[in-house]
Amino acid sequence: MSGEALVATGLSHGFAGVPVLDGIDLTVPRGGVLAILGPSGAGKTTLLAILGSLLVPDAGHVERPFERPAFVFQDPLLLPWRTARGNVAFALTGRRLSRAERLSRSRSMLVKVGLGQDEAGRYPHQLSGGMRKRVALARALAVEPDLLLLDEAFSALDVGLAREMQRLVRLDAQERGVTVVLVTHDLSEAVRLADQLVVLSGRPAHVACRVAIGRPSRLRDDAFVEAEIRRLAASEAIRDAFRPTLSG
C-alpha cells in the first residue's frame, strides 16, 4: 500500500537553528491531489521542497515511489539565455529524446498553455510575468511527471487564465494518474483541484487540520466550490490559519 503513495512521516526541519516544520505527517495516494494551505511564512515551500527531495529534512522520512517528479516553483526560474521553447526543452535533456523531438514536444506543450509560435521563440525578458509562469508550467508538464509539485503555480495569472491552467493540470493529472501536491494561498484553487487539504499553522508549523473533499474534481462547479469555501471558512482552524485573507 505504502509503495503506491507519497508518504511523509514525522518531518521536521529548521534553518539556522530556527525550527520551521515540526512533526508533519502526510499521505497522498498515487493519483491523488493534496493542497497545502497556510499563512505565508508557514513553511509550505520548505515542505514542498522536502517532498520533492530538493531538501533533506532534519528529521523524518519521505517515501517517494516516483520516477519523474516535476516542479513549478514560486518564481518561474527560467534560464534567461534560452527562449521559452528552449526552457521547456531544457527539462527534457535528461530523457532519451532527439533534439527535434524535444523541441516539438516543447512547442506542443507551450500551445497547451496558450503560448503560440511567436511567444515560443521569445526570451524570458520579452515575456510578461503571467507568460513566464505558463512557460514554467509547460516545462513541468512536458516531462510527463508522475509526481507534480506546484508552488503557487497560478498566483501571477488573472482569474480566467488561472482557471484554465488549473483545468489543464487537473485533466493531465487525471489522464495519466499523476500525484499532485500544490501549495497555495488561494482556498478556491485548493477546493477546485484537491482531494484533500492540509492546513499548516504555527511556528514551527504543524498540521492544524485536514479536510477531505469527496466530490470528484471534474464535477465541482462554481456553486459547489463557493459552498465548500463557506463551509471551510466556518471552521475555526482554517479561520485561524487564514485570518489575514478572510478578514477582508
Binding site: 520533492g52 530538493l54 517528479p69 516535476a70 516542479f71 516553483f73 518564481d75 526560474l77 534560464l79 534567461p80 539565455w81 534560452r82 531544457f90 527539462a91 535533456t93 535528461g94 511567436d118 521563440g121 521569445r122 526570451y123 525578458h125 520579452q126 516545462r139 516531462v143
Partner: protein
C-alpha cells in the same frame, strides 16, 4: 558603387570614430611641426617607414612572432585561469587558498615577470609566452571565479529538480552566466597579452615587434619606433574588432533579444 561604399563606411557612429582618429592624427602632425623630425616624425614619414619595413620583409615575421607569443600566452592563461577560477568559484577552501595567490600575482608588475622569465627561460620564445600567461592568468582566474560564484542558486535547484545531466547543467546553467563575466575580462586580457608580449620581446631580443622596437631605439630612429607602435595598435584594433566584439555580441543576444525580434 564606390560612393556607396564610402558612405557606408563613414555613416553614423563610424563617422565619429573616424573624426576621433583624425583628431589624433592632426595633433600628431601639429606635434611634428612644433618639435621637428627627431622628436616626432610626421604621420606621413612614419607611414613611409612602415612601407619600407614591409618591403624589406621585416614586418611580416615580426607580426607572426608577436602574434604567436601573445596568443600562446593568452591561451595558456585562459585555459588554466578559467579552469582554476571555475573550481574556486564552487569550492570555498580552494577559493580561500587561491584568491590571495591571484591577488599577489596581479600585484607583480608585468615587467618584473618579463625579467624573471628571461632569467629562467633565456632568450627563447618561451620567455614571452610565460610572461604573458602569468601576467594575464590571474585576471582570467578572478573573472571566472566571480562568474561561477554568482551563478543563480535557484536555477541550480531548478536544474536539479528536473534531473538534468551534469554536462547540460554545465553548458546551460553555468556557462552562459560565467561567460557574461569571463568575456569582458578576456577582451581586456587579450589586449594585455599583446602589450606584455611586446615588452618581453623588447628585452629578450628573440624577434617580434618588441625586438624591432629595441633595434629602432638602439639606432635612435624615432620614425621606425613610431612605425612599430602603429603596427601594435593596428594589430590590437584588428583583434578587438574581428574577434572580441563579434563574440561578445553573440553572447549578448539573450540579454537584448535576437535582432529583429519584438522587444
Amino acid at each position: 558603387m564606390a560612393g556607396r561604399f564610402w558612405r557606408q563606411l563613414f555613416s553614423g557612429e563610424r563617422r565619429w570614430a573616424a573624426l576621433g582618429i583624425l583628431a589624433v592624427l592632426a595633433l600628431w602632425e601639429a606635434g611634428h611641426r612644433a618639435y621637428g623630425d627627431f622628436v616626432l616624425p610626421s604621420p606621413l614619414a612614419t607611414l613611409a617607414v612602415l612601407g619600407r619595413l614591409t618591403l624589406d620583409g621585416d614586418l611580416g615575421p615580426a607580426i607572426l612572432t608577436t602574434t604567436r607569443d601573445a596568443l600562446s600566452g593568452f591561451l595558456v592563461a585562459t585555459l588554466i585561469g578559467s579552469l582554476l577560477g571555475g573550481l574556486a568559484g564552487r569550492s570555498t577552501p580552494l577559493r580561500a587558498m587561491l584568491q590571495p595567490v591571484a591577488t599577489m600575482l596581479i600585484g607583480v608588475p608585468a615587467i618584473a615577470w618579463v625579467v624573471l622569465s628571461l632569467l629562467w627561460f633565456g632568450g627563447s620564445g618561451l620567455a614571452a609566452t610565460f610572461s604573458v600567461a602569468v601576467a594575464v592568468g590571474p585576471v582570467v582566474f578572478a573573472a571566472a571565479m566571480q562568474g561561477t560564484r554568482t551563478v543563480d542558486g535557484s536555477l541550480r535547484v531548478m536544474a536539479r529538480s528536473f534531473r538534468v545531466p551534469f554536462h547540460v547543467l554545465l553548458a546551460d546553467v553555468y556557462l552562459p552566466h560565467v561567460l557574461s563575466y569571463l568575456l569582458p575580462a578576456l577582451g581586456a586580457a587579450l589586449a594585455m597579452s599583446w602589450k606584455v608580449a611586446v615588452m618581453a620581446e623588447l628585452l629578450s631580443g628573440a624577434g617580434g615587434i618588441g625586438d624591432g622596437l629595441a633595434a629602432a631605439r638602439a639606432e635612435v630612429d624615432t620614425a621606425r619606433t613610431m612605425a612599430w607602435v602603429v603596427v601594435v595598435v593596428a594589430l590590437l584594433l584588428i583583434v578587438e574588432r574581428l574577434i572580441i566584439e563579434p563574440v561578445r555580441r553573440y553572447f549578448d543576444t539573450w540579454r537584448r533579444g535576437l535582432p529583429g525580434e519584438a522587444p
